[in-house]
Subunit: 567 residues, 2 copies
């Protein structure tokens, strides 16, 4: 079942949720004319459908492999990457002064969604690369930008993010890689990094690694960390002392090489610092916030693909007559109530997650254009978009597999691949638990709570015209007040259920807005209304029940000691 | 992390939920003396830990393979099977008159749980075989029983169930395999079956296939189906015309050969009928009901294993200091509130599902011993145990993967295998959607609703002493009344959310009972109380929100036409 880019849906959400016209009214995003937006959505859709999507299943089977010559990508990936670069798809949101098109991030997100739906493993490569562009564009010197950005922007080169080490996962501050200043101002880098996505591959001539390391005598924890440009090949063309020793054997995203990277084993790995010593986490966080939204988007991507496949299967698989129907002829299973419930749930969750992620992404553009409050709103929404978006990706992929019945458990149908691929997204770029902790420790207090209060007020206003939201809006507001006065342990114990409630409430508000805007004829609008109603009438009422977990507090979790967990 | 059989927990649930002492008081189950029960729980646990568990990860890697000599199981499986047979583990619940030990099914279920935790793929072989024993013991002639049962009971031979054909999955009545009566009273079998678990393998000398087929001129649908014994080797030792042409490439349970089976391609496949023509579904259903409980049990098995692995990881993985703690030293992640929340949720769900499945299994024994009402209760509980038990298996395996963070996505830790293996259980032995349909179409009306009413009354009584249950008990009772008067479409549209509510309410009742019984010192009872409280205080309150989906009805699902699902 071929992937079809959901252009009408993306356009609808960009118009009615992201407010793309408002964003394009800013001088900075003048390039985003209606014609350009339409051309990009259609063109990117066709590219994803025609070039990336056909490589998804074979890419999963072949996987990326490590050979004596380095990491080899699956057949067809090199040609597809060349087409991607030549099509200019890598440069959409990059700043015009560095050769990019300067388009809004939220529009680039729609394109990234297509790539992820078509081929999640492949789409990680440009996603990480875009993060490196972002970091260099914001924090690099003019010289560094001139040296590295042009080819990173086009996609002739790619970039990576190097944070994790065996003992430093969620706790980035525990990393031990070192960077020692050389007489010429550059640094000698030494250390091992793990879980480096697209850390080595054969798509391009050069890979620009952004590596976090610690300078001698630096402070403990994250304050002592600096960020370095460590190219595979230096500006003079000499190979750097950096290599990939192994690829991980993963549950999914097999075509994406997840590398163990060694820097400076021969004592000859050279890097340049970005910003000053000790400023690495700040620079990395500018990459990570955008990356977190992009990972939330992966949940949308995989949910969209899984839904399309399930609809396709349910329309073609004939099995059993409708219960109670006059005809005893078997029907396509989409006709059976519980299958239809699963499909509508998939549609509703996917649309809700897309609305939330685009809404968050649009705040990044509004902030860049100087709109007041947008930066804080983006910061508040980012953990919701990342965690809930990726949870939804897993749930929808699992429902999709279930719709397929026995065929879903067989790898040939693809449903199982979506299920496997989706499962990484709640883990990387900060586990969803880390997102929840971020929400309750840093984000609720933004602008002394005003950012949250404004969002809650908008949810309450939406509830006034969409009654099913009312109970949830009240529960979330009450729990937010409770969290405000709670101990750090209680806040953390409550963090995940509270995040889910707030995310569902926000998505519910956005679905209510879409329902209001979805007046008119035709199958797209009919399905939009049905999905919005399903979300409001059936999914929103599931969330208030999480409130019991918020107020239950941390103490019961510690009523048993660690050892009793083995009993 | 080695598997450790949860003997104390199993013993507790057998005592306080299954009422094993009451069951053993029946003459029929006199063999189940306290000493015997203890010896079996301990011995089976040791066997599962020592023999089946070490083969789990290597079995997943090697998988079952089809060679020119037939299906080859992974290294070590043949020896492990021999040890299993020699230990007498296959014959626990088989009738004494056929060489079995005549022990209660619920005790055999505890053993089956261990085998499934240790090695889910392997455990399918005895599980299916036990079903064949059940069908032959109940419906076979004395001659058939003498010919096939002795070696099936010991495990020297194994049995299979052959229902599914490419066009006949959930709709068994659509099957087309044929059986034509021969002059000697036997039948010539012809047809292709798919998804046949352990349909061919190298563990034993003979495999006894139980095959559903249609006799010439038989009625359409399920009424025209008969059941046949089709041994790989006939009683005279001659090979039957039956072979496996392919194995499926599955998401998980790789060590379990899932076969495409061809019967009678040479026109020489001979079978014997079990019961009369047209009585096949009745015989198959006696196998299937027990098989459905055993599949619900697989959810418990995989949840137990995933929980143990996650606890192990969380106690050994050191990462980050406790937020707000005086010490800045990193701690084992089990110390972090959200990780602890996940682990306790895993414990609570696993214990809740175990209680529900054992409770249902104990009704089978009570029914066999002639207790009034037990048969109907077993029938009502079976779809709950199968569907909710397997949903819990998937949720807990997913949480377990999440606790592992990035390491969980790497196949080496095993967490990913549990996640993959768990996902088959909501599909086979009747998808969970089929279970939900069975609940609302056949089971709610058992004894004119009296079976359900008695269960609801017990839940309400438990709610009186466990207040968090009260809201759910009311919601379930209200929804049950609504369903009673609802159209078939409305009932089916409501079926899945209603099944989940009723299952959580029933498990909640059983957790409340366990909480009352869990007085005393020591880590086991402390964890039992904590898990019961977590279930009642945090999981039960999630369920009433599903009520909105019950009463929302089917009409909104059909407000959009089939084609709009592609829009």
């Amino acid at each position: 079942m071929p992937y079809v880019a959901p252009v009408a849906e993306q356009r609808f959400v960009l118009d009615h949720i992201a407010g793309l016209a408002e964003i394009a009214a800013h001088e900075r995003f003048a390039a985003a004319s209606p014609d350009t937006v339409e051309a990009i959505l259609v063109g990117a859709g066709e590219f994803a459908e025609g070039v990336f999507a056909p490589l998804n299943l074979p890419g999963d089977r072949a996987g990326a492999t490590l050979t004596a010559e380095g990491v080899v990508t699956p057949p067809g990936f090199r040609e597809a990457w060349r087409a991607y670069v030549e099509g200019g798809w890598n440069s959409l949101a990059a700043p015009a002064e560095h050769g990019g098109m300067g388009l809004p991030f939220v529009l680039a997100a729609a394109v990234q969604e297509d790539l992820g739906s078509a081929n999640l493993a492949f789409s990680l490569c440009p996603m990480l690369s875009t993060g490196a562009v972002e970091a260099l564009a914001r924090h690099g010197t003019a010289e560094q930008q001139a040296a590295w950005l042009p080819k990173l922007v086009t996609g002739e080169w790619t970039g990576t993010m190097n944070l994790t080490e065996p003992q430093a996962g969620s706790d980035v501050g525990a990393l031990r890689s070192t960077a020692t200043r050389l007489p010429d101002g550059r640094y000698a880098i030494s250390g091992t990094k793990i879980f480096i996505t697209w850390g080595e591959h054969d798509l391009v001539d050069n890979i620009v690694h952004l590596v976090l390391a610690r300078t001698p005598g630096a402070a403990a924890g994250t304050r002592g960390i600096s960020l370095f440009i460590v190219p595979r090949f230096n500006a003079d063309g000499a190979a750097n002392d950096a290599y990939c020793s192994a690829l991980e054997h993963k549950l999914g995203i097999h075509a994406s090489p997840t590398c163990v990277m060694h820097y400076g084993e021969q004592g000859a790995c050279i890097g340049e610092i970005i910003g000053g010593e000790g400023e690495g986490m700040r620079a990395m966080f500018t990459m990570m916030n955008v990356a977190r939204l992009n990972v939330g988007l992966q949940g949308v991507s995989i949910a969209e693909r899984a839904t399309q496949a399930a609809v396709d299967y349910a329309q073609s698989r004939i099995q059993s007559a409708r219960a109670g129907a006059a005809s005893r002829e078997p029907v396509a299973i989409i006709g059976h109530p519980d299958v239809r419930r699963m499909l509508l749930r998939m549609k509703a969750l996917t649309q809700g997650a897309r609305a939330l992620v685009y809404f968050a992404a649009s705040q990044v553009d509004r902030a860049a254009a100087g709109e007041a409050g947008a930066k804080a709103r983006a910061d508040l929404l980012t953990p919701l978009a990342k965690a809930w978006g990726t949870d939804i990706g897993c749930e929808v992929a699992s429902l999709g597999l279930q719709v397929h019945g026995g065929a879903g458990y067989i790898e040939e149908t693809g449903a199982a691949q979506y299920f496997r691929d989706a499962r990484i997204a709640p883990i990387y770029e900060g586990t969803n638990g880390i997102q929840a902790a971020d929400l309750v420790t840093r984000k609720l207090g933004l602008e002394e709570g005003a950012t949250l209060d404004r969002l809650l007020a908008e949810i309450a206003a939406a509830a006034a015209v969409a009654p099913p939201l009312a109970m949830l809006a009240e529960a979330v507001a009450k729990d937010a007040r409770w969290l405000h006065g709670a101990s750090i342990d209680d806040r953390l114990a409550a963090s995940y259920p509270f995040l889910t409630m707030l995310a569902v409430a926000t998505a519910g508000m956005l679905m209510a807005r879409q329902l209001s805007a979805a007046d008119g004829e035709g199958p797209f609008l009919a399905m939009k209304r049905a999905a919005c109603r399903f979300f409001l009438d059936r999914i929103v009422p599931e969330a208030p029940g999480l409130s019991a977990q918020v107020s239950a507090g941390a103490a019961p979790l510690y009523a048993v000691d660690d050892e009793a967990f083995r009993a």
